[in-house]
């Protein structure tokens, strides 16, 4: 069980049109998330770090269904949930057609049987339906509405700003019990007990004194605790946490961080922890992925990446983080220029313009793939992986 994958993202892309045209096709796209792959195991957390505009929040939004993916596959607990993330059924249908039916039709029975993982599960189903594409699609989309609901129980989100993510007209009880209402779980009495229990476990004790108050009566830290309670009341498998502590003061922040870690343990849950703060990421994650302009440039175990950064961007980012110790001097971040706009980026390493080590090879080739340089430590850089020689 411990090695079970909760979330697997393969080749996720999200493009936004950069201009609106009436009569012709859009030519310019903002490549917010461009071909990223992530795996999160149960009880493990991944920190997605990067500067503003690197696509980390967009990734989170796609996962909870607030944005449609342009491309890529998202698997939650061995189930391909991508068709559930599309707003309308025809896009979902097209996705299945392209990703499964077309691919499977080209293979013979023997090949289909050798597929493993999620592909294997669907290949088996495909064979069972005697390779009937239409039947496969309709079975895939069976009860789509219901399954979208079920997905939302499993994937929850905690937002950055606790002052804006709670409805000011609702009481704390209404806010925390709303997911239970929507999913029609329990009767009023049971809901009350559940909410009280949840509030107590996020440190809002005694719960009775908080239940019928309004958000404006609470402080920032308490509000964020309410937001956490709301996200966890449905027992999700994983939670997308988008900078949940960046608005909180230092003395309160640690409490919320520790609370989130404890709850992850108690509820067997994983976080996708989105943050710009590398120091916070160090405390909140097992693994880390550093994003730059829609690409993951380096990923690996958090402590390993922070102590031994390999990608020039990660190095610069780490060198720029101020150290809370006046006696420690840090290095000079070795980086040129500023972040370019990710609109139709040229086919070369995204970091080329700013990289102090860039060579001709980096310009002539497409953005490098992630290569495992050290155990579990992957880097997308031709210079580091030694391909330039």
């Amino acid at each position: 069980m411990s090695n079970e994958l909760v979330l697997k993202i393969e080749g996720l892309r999200k493009l936004f049109p950069a201009e609106r045209r009436i009569f012709s096709r859009t030519k310019y796209f903002v490549h917010a998330v461009d071909d990223i792959s992530i795996e999160i195991k149960r009880r493990e957390s991944l920190a997605l770090v990067g500067e503003s505009g690197c696509g980390k929040t967009t990734t989170g939004k796609v996962l909870v269904g607030l944005e449609e993916p342009t491309d890529g596959r998202i698997t939650v607990e061995q189930e391909d949930v991508t068709p559930l993330l599309y707003e309308n059924e025809s896009s979902a249908r097209r996705y299945i057609e392209r990703n499964y039916v077309e691919r499977f039709s080209k293979m013979d029975d023997q090949q289909l049987k050798t597929l493993d993982g999620v592909d294997g599960i669907y290949a088996e189903r495909f064979l069972k339906l005697s390779k009937d594409g239409t039947k496969f699609i309709s079975e895939f989309l069976e009860n789509r509405r219901v399954r979208v609901w079920q997905l939302r129980r499993r994937v929850q989100m905690i937002f950055q700003d606790p002052y804006e993510s709670l409805n000011p007209r609702m009481t704390i009880f209404d806010i925390v019990s709303e997911p239970l209402n929507i999913h029609e779980i329990g009767n009023l009495k049971e809901r009350e007990d559940r909410v009280a229990e949840m509030l107590a476990s996020v440190g809002l004790t005694p719960p009775e004194t908080f239940m019928f108050r309004f958000p404006h009566e609470l402080s920032g830290g308490q509000r964020q605790r309410v937001a956490i309670a709301r996200a966890l009341i449905l027992n999700p498998s994983f939670v997308v946490a988008d900078e949940p502590t960046s608005m909180l003061d230092v003395s309160i922040r640690t409490g919320v961080m520790k609370l989130m870690m404890r709850l992850a343990d108690e509820h067997n849950m994983s976080y996708l922890y989105i943050t710009h703060d590398l120091a916070v990421a160090r405390y909140m994650s097992n693994n880390i992925a550093v994003m730059y302009l829609g690409k993951i440039v380096e990923t690996g175990p958090t402590e390993e990446v922070l102590q031994n950064p390999l990608h020039p961007y990660t190095k610069a980012l780490l060198a720029a983080v101020p150290i809370p110790d006046p006696e420690q001097k840090r290095g000079e971040p070795n980086i040129k220029g500023s972040v370019p706009k990710p609109i139709n980026p040229p086919k070369r390493c995204r970091f080329f313009d700013r990289c102090p080590y860039a060579v001709e090879y980096c310009e002539k080739n497409d953005h490098p793939k992630l290569v495992e340089v050290l155990p579990n430590h992957k880097v997308a850089c031709y210079v580091v992986s030694g391909e330039t020689k």
Binding site: L318, P322, D325
Partner: protein, 332 residues
Amino acid sequence: MLLSVKDLKMHYKTKMGYVKAVDGINFDLDSGESLGIVGESGCGKTSISMTILRLLPDNAEFKAGSVFFDMGNGPIDLVKLDESQMRKYRWRGISMIFQAAMNSLNPVYKVGDQIIEAIQNHFPETPVDKAREKVAELFHLVGLDPSRMDQYPHQYSGGMKQRAVIAMALACDPKVIIADEPTTALDVIVQDRILKEIRKIQKKLNMAMIYISHDIAVIAEVSDRIAVMYAGKFAELADSVTIFKKPMHPYTYGLMHAFPSTVGEKTDLVTIPGEPPNLLNPPKGCRFAPRCPKADQTCINEEPQYIEIEKGHFVSCHHPVKPGEVVQFYEQ
């Protein structure tokens, strides 16, 4: 002494009573020196700078204290000046880099013209071409291309706007610059460049700086001395190494151990229980007492004096933390 603040008190009048935002602040500042004021949101750190510059909203009530400022012809109490006299000291004596600098530029005027306006406001006799020369010089100083003078703020990136605002603060050759959260909205790489730029300029012009921030790490990098503010008062003030290595106030101690770092050993972070007090009616005794593990009856009843325990090390605490002592903060 360039700037000397004595027992400064300023309260905001609200329907529910007085919010004691600045409640007895004392500090001195020499030229060329930089003082960092660190504190959590709502502790009154921005209000201090607004009180010094007398840029207060209508509901603010100045209660007591004095701000002695020396421009080279003896100390003058800024508090006693009337508005027209005060104008001579603003920007020329003490200028300010405002919080959310990206929004403090006017979007419909060219950036260069806004700085020229600041110069001509304080030195009306300056001809435009002289002022333009000065702006070009300032742009150069803060690392902006002078040809961007005639562009509008929206054509600038976040870091560039920040640089422009710094150039504006420098426009009238001030003796003191108050930088209120100068890099809060910026990404770390840009923040690093801006902070280095400010320090370089400070050294070059031998200015005094007051940095205000909630980020201890930023304050640690730029300040010679650090004041830790809590609920309208200074809890502790000392040189930056002492604050980090030998904090005496339990609040400072807690903050230092609550702040995560990317370097060094991954230590267990401290949680300070509770919340900062409401400044409408702060606790009677020590304001930190309800959250302090060392607090006893004295702390609850009596307000501690802000005293100089060692040379240059001010603390207001009945039971200061001894060197090497481990303070256990209990979890909620």
